[in-house]
């Protein structure tokens, strides 16, 4: 049997599953990066606190830790698996690819999570109870463990863009999939921004300190860390871009909205201005201002950053072998994976897809629109909304007056053969292309289906008699 392992599709017409995943992922990045950065900050502060016998530093860790307990460790640890959940429903084979390649890495990261949770509770609830050197040791363990969680995940994130080393495709194996130029470039950038975010979030807590002298001391240092790390992070950006494949550059140049680069530069400028003001006049910083700075990073900084990372890996969803519509587009001999394109070319989606309604396995003029809708949900909706709203609406990619024959010609000529830039190859049998064309035409012209079914439009599919339909 010619089957390919496609799952059902979740299609969310209002905003699109991609946005749902993006929102959860961005929120998680804020929480998790803050957690890691704060853990390292705690380690440093606990060291100074123990060395110079400064209990106010331990008290700050306790206060900030309590805030982070909810902000990062509770919400972060829910939104972390939340990304799994959202990608599971939005891109099951994408997440499956990451899971099956890197299950042990994720399991290893889980060990660090457990240590982290124990650690943060100890830092919060045993502050002042443990002697300062033991407290420092616990903070040190907490810091290294937290950073290890970032080390564990970054290669997996990198694999979403491409395998660490191209040899992975022919030789397989965890190491070649996980490690590469892009892994290290991404690690360095994330490390830098982790400190920027931590400095901003730390400001929320530091602004509330009663001891003015200590508040000034701390805010200045946080601001310095934030400013330096922001500059370092941005200066690493060219290195990161240089590690991306050619197709990613093309997508970045042609598909990213014009406001992306200016918005990132504006955020950087605003952050530097904020940190500079903090260094010069720390008294001006209030919890509200620091909170606004944090939200600004989230909305204007992290969101474009994560969007770029998400966009430039198209048309792939993982490892440069699975397309965003979940079809395996290339062989990976090193892992024993074969492309599903030949199967689709041979029998089409209607015969190869496991979750295909039996009544739509044969295509006729009277069910073509239904089959077209099923095809659009299956092959297009991961990247293109089928409604007026949401992510890249499909109807916008075809002229309003486009006729069914014209759309069909494009689908068979350019899409089926893989000759559309940024798009996966989507092999369609002729009848499938006609069915999809009918559905696409109806998005701009709802009357198109009626005209097609009545025979007003010339096409290749036959209409069945009522007896045949039964």
């Amino acid at each position: 049997m010619d089957l390919i392992g496609l799952f059902p599709t979740w299609y969310e017409p209002a905003i699109g599953s991609g946005w749902v995943i993006g929102i959860i992922a961005t929120v998680h990045v804020l929480f998790s990066h803050t957690a890691v950065g704060a853990a390292i900050l705690f380690g440093v502060l606990a060291y100074i606190g123990a060395r110079d016998d400064r209990p106010e530093l331990i008290e700050f860790i306790r206060k900030y830790g309590l805030f982070l307990l909810v902000f990062s460790y509770i919400l972060g640890s829910i939104t972390g698996p939340g990304i799994w959940y959202s990608t599971t429903v939005g891109s099951p084979r994408g997440i499956s690819s990451l899971i099956h390649n890197f299950v042990w890495k994720w399991a290893t990261e889980w060990v660090f999570f457990v240590i982290e949770v124990v650690g943060v509770y100890m830092l919060v609830y045993l502050a002042g109870k443990l002697d300062r050197f033991t407290y420092m040791k616990v903070a040190g363990i907490f810091a290294v463990t937290s950073y290890a969680t970032m080390l564990a995940i970054v290669g997996i994130l990198s694999f979403m863009m491409m395998p660490g080393m191209q040899e992975w495709k022919t030789e397989g194996g965890y190491l070649l999939g996980f490690y590469g130029d892009n892994t290290f470039a991404q690690l360095m950038i994330r490390t830098a921004f982790m400190f920027t975010i931590t400095a901003a979030v730390g400001g929320i807590v530091a602004a509330g300190l009663k001891d003015e002298a200590f508040k000034k001391w701390l805010l200045r240092r946080l601001a310095a860390v934030g400013a330096v790390s922001a500059v370092v992070g941005i200066s690493l950006y060219p290195w990161y871009m240089s590690t991306l494949p050619e197709i990613a550059h093309l997508v970045a140049e042609n598909r990213m909205p014009d406001y992306f680069t200016p918005s990132i530069l504006i955020v950087l400028g605003a952050m530097l201005a904020y940190f500079a003001t903090t260094i010069i006049k720390p008294k001006m910083v209030t919890a509200t201002i620091a909170g606004i700075a944090t939200v600004a990073i989230l909305v204007l900084g992290l969101w474009p950053g994560e969007t770029i990372r998400e966009s430039v890996r198209k048309p792939y969803i993982a490892g440069q072998y699975i397309y965003s519509n979940q079809v395996i587009g290339h062989d990976v001999p090193g892992m024993g994976v074969t492309s599903e394109i030949p199967t689709l070319e041979k029998v089409g989606f209607t015969q190869a897809h496991i979750f295909w309604p039996e009544s739509q396995r044969e295509i006729h003029r009277d069910n073509a629109a239904d089959v077209g809708r099923t095809l659009a949900i299956t092959a297009c909706s991961n990247c293109h909304s089928l409604s007026d709203t949401g992510i890249r609406p499909l109807k916008n990619y075809f002229p309003k007056q486009a006729d069914i024959e014209g759309i069909k010609t494009y689908l068979l000529g350019a899409l089926s053969t893989g000759n559309t830039m940024y798009m996966p190859q989507i092999p369609l049998k002729e009848a499938e292309a006609e069915a999809l064309a009918v559905y696409i035409a109806s998005l701009n012209d709802p009357e198109a289906i009626a005209r097609y079914e009545s025979g007003e439009i010339t096409a290749s599919l036959e209409t069945r008699s009522a007896e045949e339909v039964k």
Binding site: I78, H100, T108, L130, T134, I141, I377
Partner: protein, 407 residues
């Protein structure tokens, strides 16, 4: 949905170690997760029960239980990541399909869990002195409990939907028209859900035995309070086990015809016996319950009991998916990867075990110490070794990484 279709849904990448390892880890970590969930639910219910009471003992217990719930929710979430990971490895055709078919509920799970957890923390933050002050905002705790039950129900439904591949296509394309909205819950089993929730009663009962022993160790002088806790613990253990057993029987009686024999197999009988042992064990201990580490052993026994229950849960999945539908998770294609497999087990067994042992030793001893806690030389050495292991882990990460990428 025939067997060939189920196999076609498997990830073609294969898995990096023998599937039995993932199956066993899945069972063990799920058991630990569900124990934390039971402690969370049980302590939350006791907290709100005590918060509405005027009795000093109840209010004191409520105060302790809010703190327990607060930690338990973190533990439940973080430990729950592991079984969530392992189920995707060998049961991916079933887990992913079930999730996609109820996608909005899956997304709702995240949002509801966040709201529930925040509600729990709000109650905690507003009732620092629950023992002596009037209860504030009890609605937050009630909302938290209800929402925790909702997220539990979502997970339950996803697990039940996994087991019914025959109905998947009808759920996805009712009357031949695709419904990709993911807005429906398609299957659930009220007895099964009630059974797993009811287990919170005996588990929190056993937890209270451990709590009582901890207080004794810390020099608790209020003998009446200790007796009160013991009374509640014993009652919860006995009544909770009885309720759970009834629900287990009801669940087994309602099994589908094609796996009806499972009800009289060794698995549910072992689970029932394990629950009886869990409830009876503290009573059998008698006076030893107040001596040394014996007082903590009921918690250990309860954990083992939950592992038996988890094994039964896995067995029912096995007889359904393999026995009825022909899917054998143990014949998943293996693409052995020694490095990542070895790294996990070393990190888990050596590094994780060592570091957590140090942290828990410090936390434990500090809790039992008046004033500032200074660890012994031996405990200090454990800490130093823990840090060295972590540094070595980071070093090997960069060592292997740089060698792979640039050598």
């Amino acid at each position: 949905m025939d067997t060939a279709m189920l196999y076609a849904l498997r990830d073609p990448l294969g898995i990096p170690a023998h599937p039995a390892i993932f199956l066993i880890l899945g069972v063990l970590t799920w058991a630990l997760h569900i124990v934390a969930v039971h402690v969370l639910l049980g302590s939350s219910v006791l907290a709100i029960r005590g918060a509405f009471s005027g009795m000093d003992h109840w209010r004191r217990l409520a105060s302790a239980m809010v703190n327990t719930a607060k930690v338990a929710v973190s533990v439940a979430i973080v430990v729950g990541v592991a079984p969530l990971l392992f189920v995707q490895v060998i049961y991916d055709p079933f887990w992913y399909t079930s999730n996609v078919l109820s996608a909005w509920w899956v997304i709702g799970f995240i949002v509801i869990l966040i709201v529930a957890t925040l509600a729990l923390f709000i109650f905690y933050a507003m009732n620092y002195e629950l023992r002596t002050k009037k209860t504030r905002c009890p609605g937050a705790m009630i909302a938290a409990i209800l929402l925790f039950l909702v997220v539990g129900f979502i997970m339950h439904a996803l697990s039940v939907q996994m087991l019914e591949p025959d109905k998947w296509l009808e759920w996805y394309a009712p009357n031949g028209v695709i419904d990709a909205s993911g807005r429906s819950i398609h299957a659930y089993n009220p007895w099964r859900f009630a059974f797993f929730i009811a287990l919170s009663l005996p588990v929190i009962g056993i937890w209270l035995f451990g709590y009582r022993r901890y207080l004794q160790g810390a020099g608790e002088l209020d003998a009446e309070y200790l007796a009160f806790v013991k009374r509640i613990a014993t009652r919860l253990g006995a009544v909770g086990t009885a309720i759970s057993l009834v629900l287990l029987v009801m669940w087994m009686r309602g099994l589908p015809a094609d796996i009806a024999d499972f009800a009289t197999s060794v698995w549910p009988i072992a689970a029932a016996l394990a629950l009886i042992v869990v409830a009876a064990y503290p009573l059998l201990l008698g006076k030893r319950l107040d001596q040394g580490l014996w007082g903590y052993t009921p918690v250990l026994v309860a954990t083992v009991g939950m592992i038996v229950v988890a094994a039964m849960r896995e067995a029912i999945r096995w007889v359904t998916l393999y026995g009825v539908h022909g899917y054998n998770p143990l014949d998943y294609r293996i693409v052995m990867d020694w490095y990542s497999t070895g790294l996990f087990f070393i990190t888990f067994g050596v590094l994780g075990g060592g570091v957590v042992a140090y942290l828990l030793t410090v936390a434990w001893q500090a809790g039992q110490t008046e004033g500032t806690y200074t660890p012994s030389r031996a405990v200090n050495r454990m800490g130093t070794v823990a840090i060295i292991m972590l540094v070595l882990w980071v070093a090997q990460y960069f060592g292997f990484g740089l060698w792979t990428a640039y050598a």
